[in-house]
């Protein structure tokens, strides 16, 4: 199963419409998409969910062999925690998808660290999903349950000093 998610910041038609085209080309694979509300594109080849509880989200996320999403850190960290391979399409200002291009910057940085797969446009997204669906899917990066010890310790030390 391939899980497509737009995250918590609203619809992302470019991701959903492109993934719907991919789903049509790969009828043997199940596609589940969390599409949020406010989008104008209606998916025809994916199971599309507008509202999804955190529990349901977890269920699909855990069952997925590949996660395809916006370049939001919440989704990316969730993929690292669950050791899921993730491919991101950054939301861009030029399409009115976000208020600034920080998703593009995040995607570039995490790609340079070899943590995530990135598609910078719809054509790349299509090509990458089609080629990834053929091969063995392995996560590029994973993390434990909590932040780095360095950060935890630093916070604890700071909080221990009286105000």
């Amino acid at each position: 199963m391939i899980f497509v998610t737009v995250g918590t910041q609203g619809a992302f038609d470019r991701l959903i419409s492109t993934m719907d085209q991919v789903a049509e080309l790969l009828p043997h694979i199940t596609f589940v998409a969390q599409v949020s509300t406010g989008g104008s594109y209606k998916a025809k080849h994916m199971k599309a969910l507008e509202f999804i509880s955190p529990t349901e989200f977890d269920k699909y996320f855990s069952a997925a062999e590949l996660v395809v999403s916006h370049a939001g850190m919440g989704t990316i960290i969730s993929a690292f925690e669950r050791e899921k391979p993730i491919l991101v399409l950054p939301k861009l200002v030029k399409y009115g998808e976000h208020r600034n291009d920080h998703q593009l910057a995040t995607a570039k940085r995490l790609e340079s660290l070899n943590y995530v797969h990135v598609a910078y446009d719809e054509q790349q997204l299509k090509e990458k999903v089609l080629s990834m669906a053929k091969g063995a899917l392995n996560p590029l990066h994973s993390v434990g349950k909590y932040a780095s010890l360095e950060l935890i310790n630093s916070l604890q030390n700071f909080m221990a000093v009286p105000a």
């Binding site: 850190m73 960290i77 920080h102 932040a147 950060l151 935890i152 916070l155 909080m159 105000a163």
Partner: protein, 147 residues
């Protein structure tokens, strides 16, 4: 000590939860912008507030009132946030009651500290960035929410 941990929904909240071991041994109150998040911090005091961004000034003001009310009533010793605008409200409210305040800029900000972060880092007692190249005399780098 009493810690109030606040973040808006989505990536900010996920990052906040990854700091949980740092809060061990303290009384903990969580605040976020989605009611359903209560389930993700089972056993802890949780308050939800309306979401707001700097793009809607009225909502921002209303959200600030909600945060101030929670902070006044609960009187935390420490307020810690991973952003965004509601987190900045937490820092402001913390300053008002004299709590110690900590801003952790989101790991999504790889090129610049966020707009909320630029204000927050100028008033918080301690500020962190999660990218070494963004640290400076006021903003510390000490690892990130990724382990």
């Amino acid at each position: 000590m009493k810690i109030l941990a606040i973040a808006s929904a989505g990536g900010h909240w996920i990052q906040l939860l990854r700091l949980k071991p740092a809060f061990e041994g303290h009384e903990l109150i969580f605040v976020s912008t989605k009611k359903s998040f209560k389930d993700t911090v089972d056993g802890y005091e949780f308050h939800s507030i309306p979401d707001a961004s700097r793009w809607n000034k009225m909502k921002l003001l209303y959200s600030l009132m909600c945060v101030l009310k929670i902070v006044f009533l609960s009187r935390p010793n420490i307020i810690i946030t991973t952003g965004a605008a509601p987190g900045l409200m937490g820092i402001i409210a913390g300053k008002v009651i004299g709590a110690k305040t900590v801003w952790i800029d989101s790991i999504a900000n790889v090129e610049n500290i966020s707009m909320s972060g630029r204000i927050a880092t100028s008033i918080a007692d301690r500020s962190y960035t999660q990218w070494p190249d963004l640290s400076n005399s006021k903003v510390t780098f000490n690892g990130s929410v990724l382990s």
